[in-house]
């Protein structure tokens, strides 16, 4: 389990996270949901220890953050074009040299799954295919948790569909996935848990299927209630 406990974060005098707490289980797809600017990316950065927090703690399987955790968590940032000057094939070889936890078989499965051509240069790919490469690089690591920042942003509907299919596949296996997004309707039926964020705080945390079963509400219904839109 990944636990975020009472995390506070300021940029200068501006409070970005104001006591954020939630959990994400292994085997679950947890979705951090909220409009742009509520602190979704900052939370992921805090989990990865890429930005210092002022207060609170983050536990990974009950252990505090440590250099060792990078063998257990992969972070797929938004819009970062990884290794742009390389072909996909070269990038895969590079990753294999660089990471002990690189799983070559899964990488090949993913290339097939995403229908990518390994001789293509990454910088020449469409935005959708570049997003697939970023996902591929993260998913091919044998880690327990995968964080994805806005994996669907700025991507056409067909590529979105292909990417979302990854979530029901063996390529995710029983790992814990945390994704951030501001657009849920495409993937409502794929996610387990929803964490709704307002300005630097958690407004609601719930399992989507429980909400449907107990209240007869879709995720979007709950969002409408919570955000009072």
């Amino acid at each position: 389990m990944l636990e975020v406990k009472d995390v506070h974060k300021k940029f200068g005098r501006k409070k970005v996270l104001n006591g954020v707490s939630f959990t994400a289980q292994k085997g679950d797809i947890t979705c951090l949901l909220g409009i742009n600017g509520v602190g979704k990316t900052t939370i992921l950065n805090a989990i990865m220890n890429l930005t210092p927090i002022q207060k609170g703690s983050i536990l990974i399987d009950e252990q505090p953050q440590s250099p060792d955790m990078y063998n257990r968590i992969a972070f797929i940032p938004d819009a970062a074009i990884m290794l742009p000057h390389m072909t996909i094939k070269e990038a895969m070889a590079f990753m294999q040299d660089y990471y002990d936890v690189w799983n070559e078989k899964r990488a090949k499965d993913l290339i097939r799954f995403f229908r990518l051509k390994t001789s293509d240069k990454i910088q020449d790919l469409s935005k959708g295919n570049q997003a697939k490469v970023s996902l591929l690089v993260g998913l091919a690591l044998d880690v327990d948790y995968i964080l994805m920042d806005e994996p669907f942003s700025g991507i056409d509907i067909f590529t979105r569909e292909q990417i979302s299919e990854v979530f029901s596949s063996h390529l995710i296996a029983d790992r814990g996935v945390i994704i951030t997004t501001h657009e849920i309707s495409d993937i409502e039926h794929l996610i387990d848990k929803v964490v709704l964020l307002g300005d630097g705080v958690i407004l609601k945390e719930f399992y989507a299927e429980e909400m449907r079963e107990q209240e007869g509400l879709s995720v979007v219904d709950v969002m409408r209630e919570v955000y009072n839109a």
Binding site: S164, S168, H189, D192, R212, S218, D221
Partner: protein, 125 residues
């Protein structure tokens, strides 16, 4: 496999309904291996945990059974299958009666219409 999901009903219940229909219409026949949970999740584009839940419920209802380390299979129990079919038809009849309950029409007329529709459907395959 094609299942159009609505967003407000629990997905595992929608999956169970779908699978029951597949069994009733013999798309999945008695004793046939069920798709793996992962495979069905991918075919229906849903969360594997949801399929797991649907399978567990169907196992509890004995509509599918699982021997250790084997894929789940559709029940071969004729009584259960018959019961499943009659429950399904019962529900359809209830829905139908409910839908026409405010219409001024005699039971004879309705019966004739059902008869003709059934003939028509059978002829048309």
């Amino acid at each position: 496999m094609n299942l159009i999901l609505n967003k407000r009903d629990p997905i595992y219940l929608q999956v169970i309904q779908f699978l029951k229909q597949e069994i009733i219409s013999d798309q999945l026949h008695p004793g046939q291996e069920m798709p793996s949970r992962r495979q069905l999740a991918q075919d229906l584009k849903i969360n594997p945990n949801t399929v797991q839940r649907a399978y567990s419920e169907m196992e509890a209802e004995k509509l599918i059974y699982t021997e250790p380390n084997r894929p789940s299979k559709v029940t071969e129990d004729p009584i259960l299958l018959k019961q499943l079919k009659s429950e399904w038809v019962n529900q359809a009849v209830k829905d139908f009666v409910n839908a026409i309950r405010t219409v001024d029409i005699s039971i004879e007329e309705v019966t004739t219409m059902i008869q003709s529709e059934m003939n028509h459907t059978q002829l048309g395959g």
